[in-house]
Symmetry: C2
Subunit: 112 residues, 2 copies
């Protein structure tokens, strides 16, 4: 028997490994902040670093690598002098916008 998931017509709220992986990816420390910033357009490493309070070089690299690996972010090297490296959301990444908006709304409604 395969585990029922929420992907069918009738929702069964059972454990779903695919959902679990997605929610833990998005919720990993800083990942949400990075995806949220990139919804505004491509950014350089240093811009991302400057815009997320408390985020270190090392953790930003690590998160960007994970997001690249998951196909959420793409890294583009522009062959200029000096070389410019930009990070942008893929289609998969841009489709997170509705989730980020829904979480924004939820958080806004319930904060304070």
């Amino acid at each position: 028997m395969t585990a029922p998931t929420g992907h069918g017509a009738e929702t069964e709220w059972n454990y779903c490994a695919v959902f679990q992986a997605a929610v833990e990816l998005v919720g990993r420390r800083w990942t949400g902040a990075i995806v949220r910033l990139l919804l505004g357009g491509p950014m350089r490493f240093s811009e991302l670093l400057a815009k997320v309070p408390g985020l270190s070089d090392r953790l930003l690299s690590e998160r960007l690598r994970e997001l690249e690996h998951e196909g959420v972010v793409v890294r583009t090297v522009h062959p200029e002098v000096p070389i410019r490296v930009e990070y942008a959301l893929t289609e998969k990444g841009r489709e997170l916008e509705s989730i980020v908006r829904a979480l924004d709304d939820w958080a806004g409604r319930w904060s304070g």
Copy 2:
């Protein structure tokens, strides 16, 4: 100057502490799975434990306490013999349904 957030009419995708807290709450290890299960209705501790593969007693207690503290889950003690303790989503918790559904859809579209 206060930090712009995504809560206004025009979205600015800047860092937002309120969003960050929400995404990290939902994405914390096992939290997503617990909220997802409770969308189906109240459950006992032992039911939750049985339905999430790999989740330990200790971590389930910890996550439920965090979710209670955040006002997402409410714990009810039914004075029966033996005592029955149930966990249920609050209104704040039930409003996570749209986010869970959106993440389900996203994960389903992009998995495999």
